[in-house]
């Protein structure tokens, strides 16, 4: 177990130590103390580390993660797991805006609420939020799954290309081109497996699925007069 106290170690030094480990190394364990809302903790990890951060973190925690498992016992600032490629990020508290922004793969689990624009421009990441999400979540989402056990605020899935959004609670007005879609047995199965993977116990029966109406994919000639 490597123990890093951010009262005495700089963020740059801490991240550099993680980056020194080769990507084909065995999994190793890191315990991080006194994060105190510092930005860019455990970003760009390339090896299968297990990083446990004890306390609340600032912006972009776990950004660009590949292979590692990052656990935050606390709350997160904006851009949690931004552009995550693979691996897992787990947060015990709430997350600020733009969690999982543009993520390409991997899994993000938020035990509390996520704020606005959760999963903005997601491109393959799976995000499971046990609480609720703020406005414009799933904005311009392209691939992946966003699962919300609570409610979603206004403009969910605005300008969504693809991706599946599952919400158990209420939604505000849906965003442009976002519509409710049928829950097929395949979707129920996919959701059920994802919840298992996220270690979230919740029946799939109450979820509604939202996705793209695909009306913004192509230019519509009736709109020519607007230009």
């Amino acid at each position: 177990m490597n123990i890093v106290d951010l009262n005495t170690t700089s963020v740059r030094e801490f991240n550099a130590r993680l980056h020194e480990v080769r990507s084909d190394s065995e999994a190793d364990d890191w315990q991080v103390l006194n994060p105190k809302g510092k930005h860019s903790l455990a970003v760009g990890l390339q090896a299968p580390h297990r990083v446990g951060i004890e306390g609340s973190v600032g912006y972009y925690c776990g950004g660009m993660n590949k292979s590692a498992k990052v656990t935050v016992t606390g709350q997160c600032g904006k851009g949690l797991g931004e552009n995550i490629m693979s691996g897992v990020i787990h947060v015990s508290g709430n997350a600020a805006e733009a969690a999982g922004a543009s993520g390409r793969g991997g899994l993000i689990v938020i035990d509390g609420d996520a704020s606005s624009r959760c999963g903005i421009s997601m491109k393959g990441v799976d995000i499971v939020v046990t609480g609720s999400v703020g406005h414009m979540s799933g904005f311009m989402a392209q691939a992946g799954r966003l699962v919300v056990l609570g409610d979603a605020d206004e403009d969910l899935g605005a300008s969504i290309y693809e991706a599946d959004i599952y919400v158990r609670g209420e939604t505000g007005a849906l965003g442009a081109d976002c519509v409710e879609k049928e829950m097929t047995p395949d979707h129920v199965k996919s959701l059920s497996l994802l919840l298992q993977q996220a270690r979230v116990e919740c029946p799939t029966g109450d979820f509604h699925r939202y996705g793209s109406a695909r009306k913004l994919y192509n230019f519509h000639v009736d709109n020519a007069c607007r230009y």
């Binding site: 105190k36 809302g37 510092k38 930005h39 306390g55 609340s56 600032g58 912006y59 709350q75 600032g77 904006k78 508290g93 709430n94 600020a96 805006e97 609420d113 704020s115 606005s116 703020g134 406005h135 605020d153």
Partner: protein
């Protein structure tokens, strides 16, 4: 960029520590705004029928002379105390008269605030230096807001620094930028409102104060500003009895709120709250767009 912070004490036992709690919050936001810093403290009430006028000297002045000039003007004895290049005068009302007099006789003086509780201090320079020189760490009071500025739309001077006070015991700090401030300023000037600077935030403060002068509540005036003011912003507002936070309808500028049984705090970033006592168990969340969040000692007393 810019950084904003606010602290509203629910537990009166903490009032002696208001400044010492706010100072690290403000300095933690230095990277967001190293150009200038300012803070508004709602301290002990001026005695009956009196208000506090906080005055900033933009060049070296002799405060005893200023004081005796004001005494002559009012034909009354007054008290004052100095804080670096600011002084707080306790005067028997007559705000308009004193303003007019200072404007003509002492143009190097700038009134940063007026009110029974409010004192506003601001200056260019790093937040840690500004707050140390002005003695923020020793200040006492019930609530306070602060600002660290990275100037984008107007010059760097104490007059361009936040907080902006636009009415007695009312002030505002802002994280963001307004795009239609020139138009709104022109409209307000036409109804006789006087501006101290060409700063965008001053427009927001004077707009909201103007709406309140027309009888709107703070809540309603803030809601009015959502339509009137275009831009990306998070506002933190101090009023005589409380503290409010509002973000624009897109809510892209940062804001985080925290609350415990003892306090409510807001900041541009969580790290500014990280040193507050009890933060480990505080409820933390990002305020929703176009929503007024407010706390008031009066409402707390009613609820109790």
């Amino acid at each position: 960029m810019c950084g904003i912070v606010g602290l509203f004490l629910k537990n009166p036992k903490l009032e002696n520590t208001l400044g010492s709690l706010l100072k690290p919050m403000l300095t933690e936001m230095t990277e967001r705004g190293p150009d200038s810093a300012g803070f508004a403290v709602y301290g002990p009430k001026a005695r009956k029928n009196h208000i506090k006028l906080t005055i900033l000297a933009t060049e070296t002045v002799d405060w005893p002379t200023i004081s005796s000039d004001i005494e002559r003007l009012l034909a009354k004895n007054i008290d004052y105390y100095e804080r670096a290049d600011h002084a707080v005068f306790i005067v028997p009302g007559e705000e308009a008269k004193i303003r007019k007099f200072l404007n003509v006789r002492h143009p190097a003086l700038h009134i940063t605030s007026a009110g029974r509780q409010l004192e506003v201090f601001k200056q260019t320079g790093l937040p840690t230096i500004v707050s140390s020189r002005l003695g923020l760490g020793e200040m006492i009071g019930s609530h306070a807001i602060g600002h660290t500025r990275m100037a984008t739309e107007s010059g760097i001077s104490p007059m361009h620094s936040h907080p902006f006070s636009a009415a007695q015991d009312f002030c505002l700090v802002h994280n963001g930028s307004l795009s239609n401030h020139n138009g709104v300023r022109a409209t307000l000037r036409r109804v006789g409102i006087i501006f101290d600077s060409d700063n965008d935030t001053e427009v927001a403060a004077r707009y909201i104060a103007h709406r309140m002068s027309l009888g709107r509540s703070l809540q309603d005036a803030l809601t009015d500003s959502l339509d009137a003011l275009d831009g990306f912003y998070t506002f933190a507002i101090g009023s005589k009895d409380g503290f409010a936070v509002m973000r624009d309808s897109i809510a892209a500028k940062p804001a985080v709120l925290g609350e415990t049984a003892d306090w409510v705090a807001m900041a541009s970033e969580y790290r500014a709250l990280a040193a507050l006592p009890g933060i480990e168990t505080a409820q933390l969340w990002e305020p929703k767009p176009a929503t007024v969040y407010s706390w008031s000692h009066e409402r707390m007393a009613e609820a109790a």
